[in-house]
């Protein structure tokens, strides 16, 4: 019974949205908008689940003195510090502009932001090692992949145009023709697959919520 109600709730909301997509008569668009608004709130509540899980996960490690438990101490303490600063001191409460006055701002500007940027920049190294390892002429498909990558890479930098003058034109052509066609094909296929998945979920054939 409880399960059937879950399936029914999923069906009703899903079906409602599909109907709302076509109907402009009140109150349907209005209800749709309200649903959208209130689901944002559900999402916000879920963060507490995350924080509880985070605290449980790390406190368990600390209790059991697991390998690397000191890291868990650092994680929990920086979470608590940042959360307290965020709630009592932060500029996100007022103007929403991160300035340079409070400890919160300092942590944001000099710890959080550089860590983000640095993690992101690791990609430059990863892309090099992935290319080195993976681009092997094992078969024709792999060769096609590699040649396309090299031509486009040459086409992007000025020295590439010195080495291989046509690379810019060829790489533009690749991007706008075969690349576009394949992207479009994948996109249409994926969209159809997603829609089919959605229909299955709405009909309760697949129940990813239980």
């Amino acid at each position: 019974m409880r399960r059937q109600i879950a399936v029914l709730l999923c069906f009703l909301t899903g079906f409602f949205v599909v109907v709302a997509f076509f109907i402009e008569q009140d109150p349907i668009p209005d209800i749709n908008e309200k649903l959208d608004e209130l689901l944002v709130i559900v999402f916000a509540f879920a963060l507490v689940l995350g924080v509880v899980s985070f605290l449980q996960h790390h406190s368990k490690k600390i209790r059991r003195r697991d390998k690397g438990w000191t890291s868990s101490v650092i994680s929990i303490s920086s979470l608590v510090i940042m959360a307290l600063l965020g709630i009592f001191e932060s500029s996100i409460r007022g103007t929403g502009i991160i300035g340079d006055r409070t400890t919160f701002d300092w942590l944001f500007n000099w710890v959080f932001t550089p860590l983000q940027a640095t993690m992101f920049s690791l990609l430059a190294f990863m892309i090099a090692s992935a290319a080195f390892r993976a681009f092997r002429i094992k078969n024709i498909e792999a060769a096609v992949l590699m040649v396309a990558a090299i031509i486009v890479m040459l086409g992007r930098v000025s020295i590439g145009q010195v080495i291989f003058p046509q690379s810019l034109a060829i790489s533009e052509w690749i991007m706008n023709n075969p690349n576009l066609a394949a992207q479009r094909g994948i996109l249409i296929g994926a969209a159809l697959g997603a829609a089919s998945m959605a229909i299955r979920v709405i009909l309760g054939i697949e129940r990813p919520y239980m």
């Binding site: 190294f125 090099a128 390892r133 002429i137």
Partner: protein
């Protein structure tokens, strides 16, 4: 950790060295300038000392690596030629800060006086509406400059009431703002507009360049490097300082070549090991 007999940390190390060398000492690999960039340079060259241009900071920190070098080069070019600059910031998420960073860096390099050779009017919210109002009277939008001095008390602004008193508007823009200058300030008010855009948005802007709604288009790091090269060619005394984008392009070229080199090397290693295995009578490697 090893790929084809080579520890992949060697790959990391080479990428890091390849990126660091040009940052520490620019190599000056050739940067060929394109007409789209030359147009702005020549426009500024054609101005007389005392003429005024408007420079708008329409980007935030995420586009800074690409657009900061453009801002610096354009300011240097103008100050070098005694052209006055009216600076504004229209991008809500950090335009103000970028403008201050650029001015703080470039102004000390030249004997320029705030209020006479340049003025910074600060940030104003409102996008298109601001662009529109400035066509009538800049002082409606910015009653005072960033220091809080009323515009009528600023010598430079006594000469400038609206776009028509300036020779050119340059927008360093992220996202849609460059288009606004083209479709409004150029198309409606006839003001020459040049746009510096990120590499991501530049392709979209080519249509405006073709249609003549943009006098010039600087696209991404490459556009910035081209402008730096032009400055270096015409004003050798500025060459040393105008290198940020150029060295960025050096890094790009070098690291691209390193990656391509590693791909080729990897294949040579692969082909050798495969032929050895075949000779040894083994199956053709498949994984």
């Amino acid at each position: 950790m090893k790929i084809g007999g080579i520890d992949k940390r060697w790959v990391y190390l080479l990428v890091a060295i390849g990126a660091l060398i040009p940052i520490i000492k620019p190599l000056g690999l050739p940067v060929l300038s394109t007409p789209a960039v030359e147009a702005l340079f020549e426009k500024i060259e054609s101005l007389e000392p005392g003429d005024v241009i408007m420079l708008s900071f329409d980007y935030g920190p995420s586009s800074a690596p690409e657009l900061d070098p453009m801002a610096e080069s354009i300011l240097r070019h103008c100050f070098q030629r005694d052209i006055s600059v009216v600076v504004v910031a229209l991008f809500p998420l950090g335009g103000d800060n970028q403008a201050k960073i650029a001015l703080n860096k470039i102004v000390p390099e030249f004997p320029v006086v705030e209020g006479e050779d340049y003025v910074y009017l600060g940030y104003k919210d409102g996008g298109l509406a601001v662009l529109r109002r400035m066509a009538e009277d800049i002082s409606i939008v910015f009653p005072q400059d960033n220091r809080g001095i009323p515009l009528e008390d600023i010598p430079l602004m006594q000469r400038v009431q609206n776009y028509s008193d300036t020779e050119l508007s340059v927008s360093l823009a992220t996202g849609i703002m460059g288009e606004w200058w083209a479709i409004l300030v150029n198309a409606q008010f006839g003001q020459p507009v040049a746009v510096g855009a990120t590499a991501v948005s530049a392709p979209k802007y080519y249509a405006y360049l073709k249609a003549g709604q943009m006098l010039s288009l600087l696209g991404g790091l490459k556009g910035a490097a081209e402008y730096e090269t032009l400055i270096g060619e015409h004003y050798p005394e500025l060459k040393e300082r105008s290198q940020i984008a150029t060295r960025g392009m050096d890094v790009q070229s070098i690291v691209h070549l390193i990656i391509i080199g590693f791909i080729i090397l990897g294949n040579i290693v692969y082909l050798i090991s495969r032929s050895e295995r075949t000779r040894a009578g083994g199956r053709l490697a498949s994984k």
